[in-house]
Symmetry: none
Subunit: 416 residues, 2 copies
């Protein structure tokens, strides 16, 4: 299988003033062509460092795709670095110089002489025309690799990648013959099991060296299982489908979606599909469940609204929670969560009511009810389900995971 390494250059990237989004886009595009990305590097606008990075990358990868450093200023050293890495001279290309001059003439502004730097090219390189800006890219052989230089501004990079670089990579792979190999990835999104517990259930699938390659990542409560397979397109699809089926079998309802679906979208779609109506009674989440659900267009067909019962008086007045009960068991309790869920249902006439109350922190915790204690209840036409959560993390994370746990309970209760 063909391999690639990705380079990006620019002091602003190295210093953290700009976020490098090109690397991620290029890696995804190459995967789609069956080229496996092995690593990426961000290099300062520094000639020796760039020469070294290009040489190292071209010594091990079939394709090296670099973005940045093609502009008209002194610190744009990609042309010089590629020439040095290949051991060739820099030459000025008359057609490129003429095109630059014409471009400026057409806009009626004088061309700064430094712009002519953009007409330079390592000897023997092929130009990759740029219809989205003034700096063209180029492609050439360096070491064992094909080196492709693209402009740095994301919109220009994207254009030259799609129009010029990928077609050349495709042609190169076709000319190299042999069966075409692709890398494809399927991700399964799970909620409700810890990463380590998920990992144990699929430990044999995650074994090093196995194909497909299976890994997990965790982000704010969602545990994602990534399945990568490489090979012949038909085989790859079969391998992914087989692993997906096995993972779904082992993890059951913890799997809520695939390929980046969110728990809020899945819950909202499940609610719409059920035809039932919902109202929420939120304390510690302060409106977040409603805010997440209403991100889905058309949700007004099922979501009636609800009450943000942040103060205890609101729980009594708006949700009919018994004041004596509140005083006896406290606002963060199973009883109050149940009363909130049933209260908002009664108040709004919704089929389903959700109640949530908890200690988001950083203050307000006690030995009995530490920060992260959350009670969650769902009343579906009189049948009440309750969950007690003990959530890790800071206030923002406790609140987000609490709200999404409510949405997880909702989609599970609707059989999704």
């Amino acid at each position: 299988m063909a391999t690639a390494r990705i380079l990006s250059t620019g002091d602003e990237l190295v210093r953290g003033r700009s976020l490098d989004t090109n690397t991620s886009e290029i890696a995804r595009a190459l995967s789609g062509e069956g080229v496996s990305c092995e690593g990426a590097e961000v290099v300062a606008d520094d000639l020796p460092a760039l020469v070294d990075a290009i040489r190292r990358a071209c010594a091990t990868a079939d394709f090296v795709v670099l973005s940045g450093g093609l502009g008209p200023t002194e610190d744009d050293c990609t042309r010089a670095a590629a020439a040095a890495a290949a051991g060739v001279a820099i030459e000025r290309v008359p057609e490129l110089a003429a095109a630059l001059e014409e471009r400026f003439a057409r806009r009626g502004i004088p061309m700064p002489p430094s712009n002519l730097l953009q007409a330079d090219r390592p000897a023997g390189a092929e130009t990759l025309p740029n219809r989205h800006g003034t700096a063209p890219g180029f492609a050439m052989a360096i070491g064992r690799g094909r080196f492709l230089a693209l402009p740095g501004p994301p919109n220009e990079m994207r254009g030259v990648l799609a129009e010029e670089a990928l077609p050349r990579i495709r042609a190169f792979l076709a000319a190299a013959g042999g069966p075409r190999r692709v890398v494809r990835t399927r991700s399964l999104e799970t909620w409700g099991e810890r990463e380590a517990a998920v990992g144990e259930k699929i430990a044999d699938l995650m074994r090093r060296g196995r194909m497909p390659r299976v890994g997990t990542t965790a982000a704010r409560g969602t545990i994602r299982i990534l399945v990568h397979a490489e090979g012949d397109p038909a085989d790859v699809d079969a391998l992914l489908a087989s692993d997906e089926a096995e993972i779904r079998r082992r993890l059951g309802p913890a799997v809520f979606g695939a390929d980046g679906e969110t728990i809020e979208d899945v819950a909202a779609r499940a609610l719409l599909a059920s035809g039932r109506t919902l109202a929420v009674a939120e304390s510690c989440t302060g409106g977040m469940i409603g805010a997440l659900l209403t991100g889905t267009p058309g949700i007004s067909a099922s979501f009636l609204g609800g009450v943000i019962a942040y103060a205890n008086e609101a729980k009594v007045r708006d949700l009919g929670v018994d004041a004596a009960l509140l005083a006896r068991v406290g606002a963060v309790s199973e009883e109050v969560a149940r009363a909130m869920a049933s209260g908002v249902r009664a108040r709004t006439g919704a089929d389903i009511g959700i109640g949530i109350t908890g200690v988001a922190g950083p203050g307000g915790g006690s030995e009995e009810k530490p920060v992260g204690s959350v009670h969650l209840a769902l009343d579906d036409r009189g049948a009440v389900t309750h969950r007690r959560l003990a959530l890790p993390g800071d206030r923002a994370l406790v609140r987000e995971i609490a709200a999404k746990s409510a949405l997880d309970l909702l989609r599970r209760s609707l059989g999704r």
Copy 2:
């Protein structure tokens, strides 16, 4: 000047499935300490590749900061790679194992045995405690560099970087002595003026070649003005303070905060400082104003809660909006926004009521009330302010800017 290299590890980053934001954050934080970042690399979950990258980075930089690969699964190989790069063994740290076990015991759930991987550490390394998750980081000498490993999830990385890694880097720099040259950035956050209008008011400060360097960026309604200066710490601080004063003078109340403060935090703090109480009545934002405000700890002293009045029936039943008025002028109207603000105030007894109603899209727009039409009202003890917004963007952006515009109105009405 001290130098750094940054590494991040994870197949999902190399393949472009997740965007690496840690590198950029770490680079900025190091700049603030006077450490110059020379380059960054993204490495797959592959032990030999990671060992090689760590060795190369530690051969040239004073500090090497890596994020990722510290989780509890087989593909988390940062601990093993650092040990191999340094030529030391891996050891299990009894205190870390005990802390992990206690953490799970406290939450009343059994610990998956694989979690114990997170109690491993290269021999001779120092633990960097992680109060935001289960995987601690570590620090050790490798080659000529100080190597610091941080967890991969951005919120955990951020916490361990600020609380554990930066103090150690500072102490190390102080011990090394010598004059310090720093790069510092001050950002001023504005709301309510377009980026081009902000740019025109400070065009002379943004001139190329001027020091400090001043630029603007726009993200989801907040226009940020960045002021960068480099040099001797005392000079840099004076330059930044002088530009900040000038920018605040020119932009007036559009500046709501500095250095990444959010409109929701500023509004929540202004509310708390005012001693007044607030309730919200949200239609198109579905609870987002409440969710944003309640992100601030202690807000329960001022925020009573409110009503998510997504359905028209809720506006009538829970907020006392006149049904005939609703039928006549429609839900998205100045009159209904005003009635919602006053209704939720009357219902809850709050000093201030906020009402918001709009067309978030993508459906539901008309010629008279296109997608992005939002009416916002604030009733402060009987004095009602109204704003009509015509917002660009998709559903998510319209909702977010609508909610934050309500918070902007709140902080301005409180004189902040």
